[in-house]
């Protein structure tokens, strides 16, 4: 299948692979940095109170161990990050111009404020134990954590803008979107929610990894104090994060319903919309279902009546459009000011998109000819229809539908695992409180430890699924309604992308295996024997 792919498909695959690799390492650093900060703060106050007591040394050792795990991930996170940044130019050059005016500012600010903070203070955090004062070291560790999280802020704002463009106008002179309100870009509800949801998912992941690794020590009956104390901190931090994550997840679904109804329909496998729409809990999708046939979308399903309407519109009785409704239009929509109108069909949007493109072409033509009246008319035509600009690049309604099965299942995996982790943290808190875990029978105890260890791969699956929902669910759009992938790519022929894609894949896989082997090795050595 890959051999038949075009420039668009290959560029997408290359970006997806890089992003997914990047997202293996980054969320761990987001969460782990804060957990390390908490541990070092404990060390700092212990040593301040009691000097170099056993307790202070314990926290120092604990901090240093988790810092080592952080460092191994940090380097490879940086390596995959630079590829993502440069790929905007190498493989998505049209996109880079079309939105560079908006996307670039957060990226530059990220560089100035966040990247240097993270990399400079990371050097102190990792190498500076014997070189700087305890206070300076502690501040550096927290600045590393803040820097790591700030790095995520700006890129997420940029991503949110792509899902819900705000604070810009299209300038026909330069043929691109230009920012007119920075705060609208930064503080758009989609951006705020995405920020909260993604950062807390990283926090949760970090917490689960700390608990899982600690459980391995308990399973091996070694470094028990280190493991149990690490677990306690991670469980509290993880539970708080998971609760905020769930709350922002709900907000996220609400915003998707508002701004990306097609994504919501794909998440639910909803073809025909309805009032009191049910939320599908578990279901098997019917692979034969197309918009052109009347097959049932599910082979079986367990659904909660009305819950989707409540989730999407905060009202049981509201109508949630399905994929077919969005393509056929005609249902009622209420805009931000409370005005009611009929939704446009795919064909109508496409027509208007074509009018926008025609307006832009005529505008540029009139510029060359110096024809002011044509210019004014073309400008109006462009701006009146610009909201649908991207539809002009699509030929068939099917092209406006994201891959339903992938989005649907990824969404379920994310939500079910997210729910599991709330109970997981509560259980870990309960078991570690007063060391209850040690009074459990041996065979059960080991079983529990294994659950904790195996939760590590699960949290990665959960986290990656979240990104699949966000990114696959918004296809075909790089920028919602304005620029589909086919109008965003660079003119690089498939052969070249095959080559770079293969190099990336092999390189990242080798580095991932090396990284895991190094990490397992460090874990085996334990906190007392860091190499």
């Amino acid at each position: 299948m890959i051999l038949e792919m075009t420039t668009i498909g290959l560029s997408r695959l290359q970006f997806a692979i890089t992003a997914m690799y990047h997202w293996i390492f980054v969320p761990l650093t987001l969460g782990l940095a804060i957990i390390i900060g908490i541990m070092e703060t404990k060390y700092f106050f212990e040593s301040k109170k009691h000097g170099n007591s056993a307790s202070a040394e314990f926290w120092k050792k604990t901090t240093r161990f988790w810092s080592r795990i952080f460092a191994i991930n940090f380097a490879i996170g940086v390596a995959t990050g630079i590829i993502l940044e440069f790929q905007f130019g190498t493989n998505w050059s049209n996109y880079s111009w079309f939105v560079g005016d908006i996307f670039g500012a957060p990226l530059a600010i990220e560089g100035i404020f966040a990247f240097f903070m993270e990399s400079t203070f990371f050097a102190v955090m990792y190498f500076g134990w014997d070189k700087v004062s305890k206070k300076f070291h502690l501040v550096s560790t927290w600045l590393t954590a803040i820097g790591a999280n700030l790095s995520a802020v700006w890129i997420l704002i940029a991503n949110a803008w792509m899902q819900n463009p705000a604070g810009m106008v299209f300038n026909p002179d330069t043929a691109r979107n230009e920012m007119v309100n920075f705060w609208e870009v930064v503080f758009s509800p989609v951006a705020m929610n995405k920020l909260l949801h993604t950062s807390t998912s990283g926090f949760m992941l970090g917490a689960v990894v700390v608990i899982g690794i600690s459980a391995w020590y308990l399973l091996k009956r070694r470094d028990v104090e280190f493991a149990i104390k690490s677990m306690k901190i991670a469980a509290v931090f993880g539970l708080v994060s998971a609760l905020v994550l769930a709350y922002s997840g709900d907000g996220s679904a609400y915003l998707v319903a508002k701004h990306q109804p097609m994504k919501l329909a794909a998440m639910e496998g909803l073809y025909k919309g309805e009032k009191r729409a049910p939320l599908v809990g578990i279901a098997l999708l019917n692979p034969d279902k197309e918009i052109t046939n009347d097959e049932d979308p599910y082979l079986f399903d367990i659904s909660i009546p009305g819950a989707l309407s409540l989730l999407a519109n905060r009202s049981f009785d509201s109508f949630v459009p399905g994929i077919e409704d969005i393509i056929n239009g005609g249902y009622e929509v209420v805009d931000e000011n409370g005005n009611v109108s009929k939704a446009l069909s795919f064909e109508q949007k496409r027509e208007r998109g074509k009018l926008a493109v025609e307006g832009l072409r005529e505008y540029q033509q009139s510029l060359k000819e110096g024809n002011d009246s044509l210019k004014a008319a073309a400008y109006t035509q462009l701006q009146d229809n610009f909201d649908y600009f991207g539809y002009s690049f699509l030929d068939q309604p099917q092209q406006s539908i994201p891959p339903v099965a992938l989005t649907f299942y990824a969404f379920r995996i994310m939500v079910i695992l997210g729910g599991y982790f709330i109970f997981f943290f509560i259980a870990v808190l309960f078991l570690t409180h007063k060391e209850r875990i040690f009074s459990i029978k041996e065979q059960y105890k080991n079983f529990i430890y294994w659950i904790m260890i195996l939760s590590i791969p699960l949290v990665y699956v959960c986290s990656q699924s979240g990104w699949i929902v966000a990114e696959v669910g918004r296809q075909p759009w790089t920028i919602q309604d304005l620029l589909p992938v086919q109008a965003a790519v660079s003119a690089v022929n498939p052969g070249n992308i095959y080559a770079t894609l293969s190099i990336f894949f092999v390189l990242f896989t080798v580095l991932l295996v090396a990284e895991l082997k190094i990490m397992f090795n460090q874990i085996k050595r334990g906190p007392d024997n860091l190499s």
Binding site: I76, V124, L511, I518
Partner: protein, 381 residues
């Protein structure tokens, strides 16, 4: 003065400064070229890598920020150069990816590829990575084979705005002598700075590293000489070059003989900056090679040469675009060449970014503080 005009020039000056600082920070890359050859024993190799390992992230971050700032301020350059010279940039990226993991992974048990592989990665990054980056930067003067037509976005199937016409997608730049030359200049500049850094660093344990320091000095004589000679040759070739000038009123672009020489003469201040830079580089290098350790020129040779390099590179990058110069000429369609005026972000975005840029002195200050603190105490053996 028109605000947009000012902002375009302000941001070009800033990203040029970032590029110049990057060249200075590439002493890390230069240092990586020493691990095979100059370093003869494991202790020496470990020391060089450990010291560079504390600094590489700042160099890497400077590169990432350079990319981000270029995207933000001149997005058409980003899309045209990166999307066109695809293989050149991708090769550079691969060579930096393998660096990022190597410092951390090389000494760890279970690192899959073995220590030597990671050392080779570092060497490749330091040599080939530096060289290719120089080739890419040279294209700001020598240009590339591309077309730009913004209205292409309305063209249905063939809607790409910037298209590259050479099927080698950027690799052809390596065959241009001018580009090759700048690649070599950058390589020897980085190596000289790497040697100066290493000499400085090893001095705190001079009893252990006396032989290594002597070897570094010997190597510095050769590297420094090549750096200076090749740089002079590059300047001669640059000043004899035909550049492209943009008409500020109508935007048409036309060739001008000796454009870069005229830029220096007409703007004057970049010429002064260049001159000061060259004097500093020469003083630093000769201080390190010929003077006693107690003399300030020898003691601070790394910083003096580094400072000189920053000034020289900054001046040349300014010269590439200021004075109505097309900074990335198109070899196939001159009128499509990029200028500060047709490739920048909007006035609003540049203004927002300019407010953010006020934090740069603060960022530089904490980097310097951390650098000083981390450099004070000796490493243990």
């Amino acid at each position: 003065m028109d605000t947009l005009y000012f902002l375009q020039h302000y941001w070009w000056a800033l990203i040029s400064l970032l590029g110049a600082l990057l060249v200075f920070m590439m002493f890390v890359q230069g240092g990586e070229t020493l691990i095979f050859g100059v370093a003869k024993t494991d202790v020496e190799r470990e020391r060089i890598i450990a010291s560079l390992g504390h600094k590489w992230e700042i160099t890497f971050t400077t590169l990432v920020t350079f990319g981000g700032a270029a995207f933000a301020s001149f997005p058409l350059f980003y899309s045209t150069s990166f999307g066109g010279a695809y293989w050149l940039w991708m090769s550079i990226l691969f060579l930096f990816v393998i660096q990022a993991v190597s410092f951390e992974f090389r000494n760890k048990a279970g690192n899959l590829l073995g220590k030597r592989s990671y050392d080779i990665f570092l060497f490749l990054n330091g040599s080939l990575g530096t060289f290719l980056l120089g080739v890419a930067v040279a294209m700001l003067f020598s240009g590339g084979s591309y077309n730009v037509d913004k209205i292409n976005i309305t063209n249905g199937a063939s809607n790409v705005i910037s298209t590259w016409t050479n099927p080698l997608m950027g690799l052809e730049a390596i065959s241009v002598p001018f580009n090759l030359l700048l690649g070599l200049v950058l390589l020897f500049a980085a190596r000289s700075l790497g040697l100066l850094f290493t000499i400085n660093d090893m001095r705190s344990d001079s009893e252990i590293f006396a032989n290594a320091i002597a070897r570094c000095k010997k190597s510095l004589l050769m590297s420094g000489l090549l750096f200076v000679l090749l740089f002079v040759l590059f300047l001669v070739m640059l000043f004899l070059r035909t550049g492209y000038s943009v008409d500020p009123l109508v935007g048409t672009i036309s060739p001008v003989k000796y454009k870069y020489l005229f830029n220096m003469m007409e703007l004057v201040w970049p010429a002064i900056v260049l001159l000061v830079g060259v004097v500093l580089v020469l003083s630093g290098l000769s201080g390190a090679i010929f003077m006693k350790e107690s003399s300030p020129l020898n003691k601070y040779a790394f910083y003096i040469t580094g400072g000189g390099t920053v000034l020289a590179v900054w001046s040349l990058l300014i010269c590439a675009a200021y004075n109505y110069t097309a900074y990335f000429p198109s070899l196939v369609s001159v009128q499509d060449s990029l200028t500060l005026f047709n490739s920048s972000s909007s006035k609003f975005t540049l203004t927002v970014m300019s407010f953010a840029s006020l934090a740069i002195p603060f960022v530089l200050a904490y980097i310097v503080i951390v650098w000083r603190k981390m450099s004070h105490s000796k490493q243990s053996y």
